[in-house]
């Protein structure tokens, strides 16, 4: 057991934990429980908004492998990762003020609330809530497994014990703190990631004898490592460019991102968040992936990609500092889990229960139910992570692309195109998700593009054509 690294790591987690508890007190004293628990009372300032967005983007893309893949593929993967810089400004600019104004007008607390008010259709709500519960639940289970593995390898305790520790940590502060706790802890985590990756990058460059030296080592091993095409030359321009949709502009449709885009205080917070967010996302992505590539000449024989970050940190930094820096990936996983847990429970309680089961539930009942559902979900995820079923792993691979294919047009067109209607939205969601699953299973990479691209394009036309074709019908229904 590496105590020198472990003590700072635990310290950082305790600080994060304390923040959750502190934020929880805030909630008890307020009387708008739903707004506070799920949305932090629409009170986020610029810095907190930027950081919570960043922490969420970071984890939205963690499934593409991050530094571990950069280690294997070389500079081409850093190029790919840099497509995420666009999320820093694009999401807040495009959803932007219109989304903030409209969701306030609708009194919407979640993405599904927005869709419900915009389209006024039971089916839109049920399909959306169902997609969120299935896709995000799977994504969450995968993150728990990741979190537990990290504790396992760091402390050297059995997987089950590690999972248990992880679960308790996450559950306690999500349950007491709600969204504000998650947003606040995201800020701490985002800051650690920002500073930590910077320190680690510099230490890695020094250990590798300077950038020029590292580059010549890399090209001596395999010249492809310093080209944009990946170690085996498999990263084609069309494939890499597809990531502009998957982890760039498509991110506007992820429920965990949209909920943040309605949570800020005023337009000044939004302006600040755009600027801070762009810079922070860019720096973290660039640093994290460069660390992965630069680690290669220093530690040439790492077989498991996920171990690149911990091993290089322990190699080039003093132990105590490595502990602090390693709190960053740990924190990233925790923050994803927290926000996903909240989203799934808000889908169940708000979107399904309050809309269709018991619309007049009392304040007290809703509060107990929200906390109860969150806790039960946590326990179910825990049980699944103990022995992950294959279905979960399979669904997790689809989670982000699937949600993007489902929601991008109902949200964006719903905001900016008056003629869009519920038939268009339903058609778009079904084509998007259906085509994505079919495409990914039977013909991955059509025309050399990532399988998310085609469903996004086709579902756009589905939305457009079906909305236009049903104009008369909708007017007839209104009359």
């Amino acid at each position: 057991m590496n105590w020198q690294a472990l003590v700072p790591l635990i310290g950082v987690i305790l600080i994060i934990f304390g923040t959750g508890v502190w934020a929880g007190k805030y909630i008890k004293s307020s009387n708008t429980f739903m707004q506070d628990y799920f949305l932090g009372g629409r009170s986020l300032g610029g810095f907190v908004l930027a950081m919570t967005m960043t922490a969420t983007y970071g984890s939205a893309s963690s499934f593409i492998g991050g530094p571990g893949t950069a280690y294997t593929e070389g500079m081409g993967w850093v190029l790919l990762a840099m497509t995420q810089v666009s999320t820093g400004y694009f999401v807040l600019m495009v959803l932007g003020k219109k989304f903030a104004i409209v969701t306030r007008k609708y009194n919407a607390l979640t993405m599904v609330d927005f869709l419900k008010e915009r389209y006024r259709s039971k089916w839109v709500v049920l399909i959306s809530a169902f997609s969120i519960i299935i896709f995000l639940f799977s994504a969450m289970a995968a993150q728990w497994i990741g979190g537990a593995r990290l504790i396992e390898s760091l402390i050297g305790i059995p997987y089950i014990t590690a999972l248990f520790i992880f679960a308790i940590l996450v559950l306690i502060y999500v349950i007491i703190g709600g969204f504000r706790a998650v947003a606040l802890t995201d800020s701490i985590q985002g800051t650690i990631m920002f500073v930590g990756t910077l320190i680690l990058l510099i230490a890695t460059i020094v250990a590798g004898g300077g950038i020029s030296n590292i580059m010549s080592d890399l090209s001596a091993e395999n010249p492809n490592l310093i080209t944009p095409y990946g170690a085996e030359g498999t990263l084609t321009p069309a494939f890499v460019s597809s990531f502009w949709i998957l982890v760039g502009v498509g991110v506007v449709a992820l429920p965990q991102i949209t909920v943040r885009a309605m949570s800020y205080k005023d337009s000044r917070s939004m302006h600040r968040a755009i600027i801070i967010g762009t810079i922070v996302v860019g720096v973290i992505m660039l640093n994290m992936h460069l660390i992965g590539v630069f680690a290669r000449p220093i530690l040439p024989d790492i077989k498991v990609g996920d171990k690149v970050m911990p091993l290089i940190a322990l190699e080039v930094l003093p132990n105590w500092l490595a502990g602090i820096v390693l709190a960053a990936p740990m924190a990233a996983i925790m923050s994803t889990v927290d926000s996903l847990l909240l989203l799934v429970s808000s889908s169940i309680v708000k979107d399904v229960y309050l809309n269709y089961v018991e619309p007049n539930a009392s304040h007290q009942r809703v509060k107990r139910l929200s906390i109860g559902v969150t806790a039960i979900l946590g326990v179910i995820v825990f049980v699944m992570a103990l022995n992950p079923p294959d279905l979960i792993i399979w669904l997790n691979l689809f989670a982000f692309g699937g949600l993007e294919a489902a929601f991008i047009w109902p949200i964006v067109m719903g905001l900016y195109w008056q003629k869009g209607n519920k038939y268009g939205a339903i058609a778009s969601m079904i084509t998007g998700v259906g085509l994505y699953i079919l495409s990914d299973s039977f013909f991955p990479q059509p025309f050399g593009l990532h399988s998310v691209v085609m469903p996004v394009v086709v579902s756009f036309f589905a939305y457009l054509l079906v909305s236009l074709a049903t104009q008369e019908k909708v007017i007839g229904e209104k009359a």
Binding site: V78, L79, M93, V94, I211, M215, P223, T227, W244
Partner: protein, 94 residues
Amino acid sequence: MQGENTEKNDPRYKIANREALIGVGLVIFNFVWWFAFAYGLGGKDPSEYTYIFGLPAWFFYSCVLGFVVMAVLVIVAVKKWFVEVSFDEEGEEK
């Protein structure tokens, strides 16, 4: 259709629409810059690469300089063209 009237009248939506278009414009510019340098300069044989600060030139221009340029553009766009509006009740802004 209750939103129809406010949709046309609310001056905040005009601002919001313009800002969304700025976002789209920025992302297109970002993509072109990123793609042109990466595959324009990086398409050569690695033995012909030039280096800036130790990094291959394609990477430096596409990802490092590209990021700095985008950060500057975003700051300029927000400071110059983004307008502060109130989110609370309609008509609270002038």
